[in-house]
């Protein structure tokens, strides 16, 4: 089977920054120290009112073509776009992006709707396209503007989520990062759908009155906003992710000692540390880089990889286990061999 490699990653963060200080001013019982120490986030970037996932995706991709010159736009033969906050119901944002990025008209393009597991699933698709000979250079763009559907009185979600876009180049030849994508383990459990949901915007709620909800902790949201049942999501990850990590190691005939770094979807530092202890991963091997941007949904893993590569923290030959999990519920993991 033809191998697939992640050769480069670039990302884009919107200009506007919301600090813990400004959140603490709005929610006086939410202290700066507490936000930082519990969730591990100092600030998050928020898309401008006239900035959407397509715009952010274009910026991330343009940065990739500037930073990585081994492949040009005309070499891209497939564009995958992952978002849950598309510009429109239709057309497909990936089609708009083909035009805005100036990619060839012979490029295949499609959107897929996944959240925090999106990057992993994007890699499964890219690898499949390459293995089947359909494509040689797949541009995988992930972009989210969750801020646009978070209620302004929902201090929990406003503290956790930030907007971002990332562009990942997956190719059939080893270059740049040259990280081979090894075997995957995936999982789905749609019984958790209600625990992380935006009801408005789809057809089911199209003609409904807007409903308002206040949870037992005072977080407010309407049926047009993001609603997250934190405890249920926490229990879902606690229950499923340790097994996912073990199964992924087994699938690749590797042991925990063979892994040089673990990069999990950067949900929040608190939950990640709980998982780290549960799986018994060394602190040094467990990468956390979310303090400057928050939980950016399907771009968190790419941001960590890009930052580690900038700092030369991933050596050639390193095995890096990456895992994404969240809304759906949907989860998946693989190992990258640099």
């Amino acid at each position: 089977m033809k191998k697939s490699y992640i050769n480069h990653i670039s990302y884009y963060l919107p200009e506007k920054v919301v600090t813990n200080e400004s959140l603490s001013k709005e929610f006086p019982d939410w202290s700066v120290k507490k936000i930082a120490s519990k969730i591990g986030i100092d600030q998050r970037h928020i898309a401008a009112s006239d900035e959407f996932s397509s715009d952010m995706g274009v910026k991330a991709a343009e940065t990739l073509f500037n930073e990585y010159t081994h492949v040009s736009k005309s070499d891209i033969d497939f564009l995958l776009f992952c978002t849950q906050s598309p510009d429109y119901i239709l057309p497909t944002t990936a089609c708009i992006l083909q035009d805005r990025l100036g990619l060839s008209k012979s490029t295949g393009a499609l959107d897929f709707n996944l959240g925090c597991s999106g990057f992993i699933y994007g890699l499964t698709l890219a690898k499949g396209l390459i293995a089947s000979g359909v494509a040689k250079n797949v541009l995988l763009i992930c972009a989210e503007t969750y801020s646009k559907f978070i209620n302004k009185n929902d201090k929990g979600n406003r503290s956790i989520f930030g907007d971002a876009a990332s562009a990942t180049l997956v190719s059939d030849d080893k270059n740049g990062y040259g990280a081979e994508i090894l075997n995957f383990k995936l999982g789905t459990d749609g019984s958790g759908a209600e625990n992380l949901i935006v009801k408005g915007g789809g057809m089911r709620y199209r003609d409904s009155e807007i409903e308002t909800y206040v949870d037992s902790y005072g977080n407010e949201a309407t049926s047009n906003d993001l609603i997250m049942n934190g405890p249920e999501i926490f229990n879902f990850t606690s229950k499923n992710i340790p097994g996912l990590v073990m199964d992924t190691l087994k699938e690749n005939n590797l042991n925990q000692d063979d892994i040089d770094s673990y990069i999990f979807h950067q949900a929040n530092a608190y939950m990640l540390n709980h998982l780290r202890k549960k799986i018994k991963i060394d602190k040094e091997k467990f990468k956390l880089k979310m303090n400057f941007c928050g939980n950016t949904v399907s771009s968190t893993i790419q941001i960590v990889i890009a930052e580690l590569m900038k700092d030369s923290e991933i050596k050639e030959g390193a095995h890096v286990l990456i895992a994404g999990f969240g809304v759906g519920y949907s989860w998946g993991a693989t190992i990258l061999k640099f």
Binding site: K34, E232, S238, K239
Partner: protein, 75 residues
């Protein structure tokens, strides 16, 4: 199984800014100013770590005192 006293101590450890609160089994925890969704998550994590038991949000929602919660944990 850890005692109610130990559970109360572990429960209190999840609070960072409530030095003035005396944590007793009869304490109505939702009345503590610092109580919020993040502390609730810490309690769920603590119960998972220390008691190897998964409790959901409803169990916390339906308990008033630390002792009531403890009784659900050891059920």
């Amino acid at each position: 199984m850890k005692s109610l006293q130990k559970f109360t101590e572990l429960f209190a450890e999840q609070f960072d800014e409530s030095e003035d609160v005396v944590f007793e089994p009869t304490t109505i925890f939702k009345d503590i100013d610092e109580w919020d969704s993040m502390i609730a998550l810490s309690i769920i994590a603590m119960v998972d770590d220390e008691f190897d038991k998964t409790i959901n949000g409803d169990i916390i929602k339906n308990a008033n005192t630390i002792e009531e919660l403890y009784n659900k944990v050891i059920e």
